[in-house]
Symmetry: C2
């Protein structure tokens, strides 16, 4: 730069430079909206003034228990006030928040607590048993704070440790709290739910959390004071950063211990819920509601769904029920969704199924994501926007993770060449919207042709009797691989047989894409609700070897 | 920090760290909404695809004319497409944009061009004459690009230099453009309209511009695709960052060469304008519209007003006309508004004048502003939130300027103690909302009591015949100072005399606050529409000395 007059004597200082952090939002919410509702948890209701005060007590209590800046604080809890409060209090103390998936087994929990070097662990009593088993195997145990859910019956025996409300009560409601000294400091640690191998610890920073929290507002047209129902686990990518978003817009969190259709409809009716998020399974839960569970509502209810590509047929059905769906896509490594299907008014006049087809695309980048490309991973060149050429989805920007904790090799590999390599395969449509085709390991290669399992699943979901479907590769002597469909039927549906399903696909798919085998039954899922295709591939392979064994 | 595992091998890299800059928003808008309308300028209409292409041509043309990174590019133009395009193209080239107030005289323009070391100057032909005079006195003249307004008749003789459309036409529509190498780099240079002394050059950076552009979205509940009418000059604090905000939300800019009531109503009716900004004078213009100029409209139209505290009576009147007003406050040094009166639903049921009183308060901080305090400038201690104790309004955060260009002494003084000292005086109400009382130099001290000129003006504005009012101190032998009111009457209003005005005030104010003198006539204004209280103080002083002279 030739000139420097615009830099000279114009340095950063305390007046004009403050590290970006989402904890600034709760400070502001408590100042501006002290009497507005922050959290509703059954009969318990908190205001922003109260929530901030509880967070300051939390900060003070962490200090009293010897937790220091840079320590890790873990929590295993459903969507209750404590985990919302932890989302602010832990970073307000300069510590790092690790939210643990409540569906994990004791061994994995022990692995995480050990790998994260957790200093203090908060446990909802519902998870006492599994956590006690996890702790048994650990050499250096964290300090334990147990949370008595209050509104729900305790399950299992209580874990030892100070109770959360006592922990808070001992804290100072006016305790000092801190901004990070650098916005690049870690704010949270989220373990991937990897289907194989040990989970990896994804590190988020304050800067990214702040920017993604604001991106959520812009992407979703989120006006001030939404009423947000917690159908998305707060342990999952920090609830996609929505705890922070809600503080920015002075919104109300409606807690939900279990995602059940009756509770969802009740909250929509009684608390006037305006927004909720979740994996497509949440939409499925709403769609499968019984008549007794359903409630009429007339106000707009908006759903943001991500985590797995929702089948177009499911999208069409939920919109016909009066919900407005935004489809988003991302990974743990990108603070949750970083891509969404920005809706265009000109699509409103399309037939319902075409509208749903548009919406089932993953779409375009968030504001806080600076680069989204589908590239040939070997050449790192973008694929043409032809809707056909397959490449790997790559992300670049401030909402890409710092990296994996204590795993520099995996970090280097994931961020090689200045882009985060997602492992997801997709195409770019001529209008620039991306469309996922598959995880790279989920592509079926039959007679040398690539077959997208998603394309077949999309067809299966159009069948009225099918509730869930997953297609994987099955080894085949002639073709290399052929598609094998695993199917769960809707309750009370007329039960089609395998032939009927295959015929249904044949009418709608090229011949080589039609599943050769159909297996009925429940689908195995990961702790975050993703279908375990890895297990299904094993089962598909076993089917073939069984047959071989029996025919030999 | 004791632990560093959250920092180790987790450095910034090209995948996860990108400098914040609002130019990222136009790149995204062109990708996501290429066919959506970006700019409407009379019969000319542009899409985001076209606007981005024109900006890339602009970047290329700057390069062809020898403009380098870190150079200053100035523009003097009304709200036409060129100034919108410059808001992106100049920073996309790594240069610094200096928008010049169109109401300035030749000497001041020459001072600015010289002080900014402008390399290239764009001039709308309407300002040819004054700019030619400014250039005559300059030793090192910038390259000149003249803008032929097209839709408006040319006034005065044309200035020499390449015409803007030819300048663009020579550029490459696919030219490379750049992110800043550091988000702290200067993006723009805005000169204060200081009533005395030379204007100071306020330097903005990419980080602040990005954050304020997003703050505008959250503060104003700005959904995607607003239709924004340019009643606020784009030369004023970069149109308060709205050129960038509109790219973030894919909004449409409706250009407006002159702020006239008929044109405003026509745009609201024909272009379905949803949002506009401006000083209270814009509201006055709308209120003073003739019957022929008015148009009925039924869709919501939102006004954000700032720059001077709007009298409560004016707020009440404009809302009764069907406009929804958000009141904001800031200074050139804070990227325009950084504070706004966040509205609370519980105030909706108050009587109209009480609602307006609430709204006339300056309020609370923007999200991008981390600190807003009213402090005793000697002790730097916050005043109590008692609605009474006067202090100086201080700002801290990422939307405080880098400083004043080539003026380290003024920068140090303005940012002393880690806060930007605004020079504005105010109080904090018990609910935490701030209320301006006066500029420190505008306070009237009568018999040792501080009198707020704003309080008296607020009363005057309630008088139905008064269009504009300004109160200043008048020297007084007995009291030190007494209030003197300067008043402009509404057109066609029944004309009250001075006694009637004084009686009106006496009914509503403590005796010592009532103006002793009332002067009728037009009020002198600065180039940004602020009333020149400095001139009024001189006139008030002259009134007294005249009287003394005639009585001696």
């Amino acid at each position: 730069m030739k000139e420097n007059r615009f830099e000279q004597d114009l340095d950063r200082n305390a007046a004009n430079f403050v590290p970006l952090t989402p904890v600034s939002f709760i400070d502001r919410a408590a100042q501006v909206y002290p009497d507005y509702p922050s959290i509703i948890d059954g009969a318990r209701r908190f205001t922003w003034g109260e929530t901030f005060e509880r967070c300051r007590r939390f900060v003070s209590a962490l200090k009293m228990h010897g937790v220091e800046k840079g320590d890790c604080v873990s929590i295993i809890a459903p969507n209750i006030p404590a985990i919302y409060e932890a989302s602010f209090a832990v970073p307000m103390h300069g510590a790092v928040l690790n939210t643990i998936n409540t569906r994990l087994d004791a061994a994995t929990i022990a692995f995480i607590l050990d790998h994260a070097q957790t200093r203090l662990l908060l446990v909802d009593r519902e998870y006492s048993q599994v956590v006690m088993h996890a702790l048994e195997s650990m050499q250096e145990k964290p300090i334990v704070v147990s949370i008595d859910g209050g509104v729900e019956p305790k399950e299992g025996e209580g874990i030892e440790g100070i109770e959360y409300e006592d922990f808070l009560a001992a804290g100072d409601p006016e305790a000092a709290w801190c901004y990070p000294d650098d916005e690049w400091r870690a704010i949270s640690l989220n373990y991937t739910s990897g289907t194989t191998g040990n989970p990896k610890g994804v590190v988020y920073h304050h800067r990214g959390a702040y920017l993604n929290a604001l991106s959520n507002v812009v992407v979703w047209n989120l006006n001030n004071h939404p009423v947000y129902l917690w159908t998305l686990p707060m342990f999952h990518c920090n609830g996609w950063c929505f705890p922070w978003t809600l503080a920015a817009v002075g919104g109300t969190s409606v807690c939900l211990r279990k995602v059940q259709a009756g509770a969802i409809y009740r909250a929509i009716d009684e608390e006037r819920v305006t927004h909720l998020c979740g994996a497509p399974i949440v939409i499925g839960t709403i769609l499968d509601a019984t008549e007794e569970e359903r409630r009429d509502f007339s106000h707009p209810v908006r759903i943001m769904t991500a985590a797995a590509p929702p089948p177009a047929a499911v999208l069409a059905r939920i919109e016909s029920e009066g919900f407005e769906v935004t489809h988003a896509y991302g990974l743990t490594e990108t603070y949750g969704p970083a891509v969404f299907c920005a809706w265009k008014d000109e699509w409103n006049d399309l037939p319902a199924d075409e509208r749903a087809q548009r919406k089932s695309r993953q779409g375009v980048r968030y504001h806080a994501l600076d680069g989204l490309q589908i590239m040939n991973p070997d050449t790192m060149q973008p694929v043409p926007a032809d809707g056909k050429t397959l490449g790997e989805v790559m992300f670049r920007g401030n909402i890409v993770m710092k990296g994996y904790l204590k795993n520099p090799a995996a970090t280097r590999e994931a961020l090689a060449g200045g882009w985060f390599h997602s492992g997801d395969l997709g195409v770019v449509d001529p209008d620039g919207y991306i469309r996922l085709k598959d995880r790279s390991k989920d592509i079926i290669i039959s007679g040398g042709e690539n077959i997208s399992s998603i394309e077949i699943e999309d067809v299966l979901y159009r069948h009225p009797a099918i509730s869930e479907a997953a297609v994987v590769a099955c080894p085949d002597e002639k073709w290399g691989e052929t598609p094998c469909a695993f199917i769960t039927l809707r309750p009370n549906a007329q039960s089609p047989d395998a032939k009927e399903i295959i015929d249904f696909c044949r009418e709608r798919l090229a011949h080589y894409k039609v599943p050769r085998r159909v297996v009925f039954g429940p689908l195995p899922k990961t702790s975050t609700g993703k279908i375990r295709k890895f297990n299904l591939r094993e089962r598909a392979a076993a089917l073939v070897s069984d047959r071989r064994a029996s025919s030999s």
